[in-house]
Subunit: 312 residues, 2 copies
């Protein structure tokens, strides 16, 4: 059962650490493992198309919080596996996330100049290379998921289902649907905002958590708890992003702020206070989803706290 | 063994049919099967992101020769399976091909206005929707390949390998690498031209032929023969494309001709006659690769003849 803590903020979220630059110290071992693997899991240098690999590397290895792949490794461990056994899938998750950032930043989408503290990929290189690098990251992700199901000896029917779910997470039923709607939000409706964020952000959080557990052959019930947790966490993460974008300057976030602040977001629709309360509620629901998993799920509770309290 | 025919053109390719508008009549049953399935295998209508599905449909259902998915179905049958059992994979192949056309046509790539006799997708809708629709087609393709390995009860290790190979076919080691180099061809070198075409076109021909056979659980030796056939066929197809682009007008091809003719191609480098002879040689090599497969491979011989003799 989760511990009860005395110190809570006014929305009832209990900080277990100081929310500084990156993930709390206890997660850094996973981040190190991942960072080391990411470079190795890029495609080999190509004699003629090397600049595409270079572009993939530029965006993938830019400083990031690595929340999603850490979630993959933590979920594997909660399901009785090892974080290091799902490294291919964790790298795939970070590649999918990076691809989505490259595409979102394109001139025809958000037209952003900065991301993760450096020039966006299409500004650093050119638009065609950026589009190709984003798609190459998606393909490398599927290659790695293919490797992961073989390495973890996943039965054929489940292996096929994992591929289907990964494709749906990115496709129209997931991130692509969310991104299209995000570009076409016209009305300040809760239903539409929730659609955008649950598809654009929630989908990948759910895949991140469930793929780690499924590759560790978790029971269906455990996978469902993790999916519920991740769904709420993802939405909370995005609302927190809206809040940070509203409050912060480029110096703090390392990406274009105006781009996001012109948009319809939770903050511009419901205000800062209601958005903060909503994020807190979602964090509480996320943590409650972990109850059936018992004490071994406490790292996921701490991850949820971090997501609520992070300053960038 | 392939039949010997008396009538050959001066490059030694023997026409078994009149090369008219589309695939020869004997292949039309496969085309019909495919066309009917394509629409059904698109994602369901999405309440908020319907225009992305509409954009996918616009490009996918535009009139096309459907050579690649027919190759998938023919290869399945040569390997002892049924064309109809690999329809998901055949649709996936056509989706991958369509996605590559949408991306190639983008303003940041070839900046084309017409394709398959209609406006290119970014002209018909907008650039962001076109990019998202192309990526959504890639994702739907992986979803369908995931379904196909389950439906055909492919063992887990082989299923994972099929996913890896599909990802590599599209990624840097395949189409994406070829497309990047195509955009950056500066020198008239055979090595570089062959790299572009074997990656941009050859990769997907190889995947088209091998996935049909592998889903029908063909022996490795059969898969290798088909891969050799498809590799040569793909390169011949692209050289023939260069020849047609050089010779034809928009009215005949239904796509921008100038766009391609400004580029470095086999025809602009080696001239019409040498390019035609090279294509004929490749067709002969492709057909020779089929010899170990015996008489049941004759439909693939006819497909090779069609590719050499086609007028559009």
């Amino acid at each position: 059962m989760p511990e009860t803590r005395a110190n809570t903020d006014r929305n009832g979220v209990s900080p277990a650490f100081s929310a500084d630059e990156g993930l709390p110290a206890e997660f850094r071992v996973y981040v190190s493992l991942l960072e080391e693997a990411l470079e190795k899991m890029l495609p080999g240098e190509d004699i003629f198309a090397g600049p595409v690999v270079e572009a993939m590397r530029y965006s993938l290895l830019a400083p990031g919080k690595r929340i999603r792949p850490v979630l993959t490794m933590l979920s594997a461990e909660i399901a009785g596996g090892k974080g290091s056994s799902v490294l291919e899938a964790a790298c795939a998750i970070e590649m999918i996330h990076t691809a989505s950032l490259i595409l979102d930043d394109l001139p025809c989408m958000d037209d952003s100049n900065f991301r993760r503290g450096r020039k966006t990929l299409h500004r650093h290189t050119d638009e065609a290379t950026a589009v190709l690098a984003a798609d190459a990251l998606l393909m490398q992700a599927f290659r790695l998921i293919g490797l992961a199901v073989v390495k973890n000896r996943i039965p054929a029917a489940e292996a096929g289902k994992i591929i289907e779910d990964a494709a749906d997470c990115i496709g129209v039923p997931g991130m692509i649907g969310g991104q299209w709607k995000d570009l076409h939000l016209r009305e300040k409706k809760l239903e539409e905002l929730e659609y955008v964020h649950s598809h654009k952000t929630g989908s990948l959080f759910i895949l991140s958590a469930t793929i780690g557990a499924r590759l560790s052959r978790a029971e269906k019930k455990i996978v469902e708890c993790l999916a519920n947790y991740a769904k709420n966490l993802g939405l909370a993460f995005q609302i927190k992003d809206d809040i940070l974008n509203f409050q912060s300057s480029y110096a703090e976030l390392g990406k274009d702020v105006l781009t996001d602040s012109k948009k319809i977001t939770f903050v511009t629709v419901f205000g800062l206070e209601s958005s903060t309360a909503l994020a807190a509620d979602l964090i509480k629901t996320a943590k409650a989803s972990l109850l059936p998993l018992g004490p071994q799920s406490s790292p996921l509770e701490k991850l949820a706290d971090y997501i609520y309290l992070r300053k960038k």
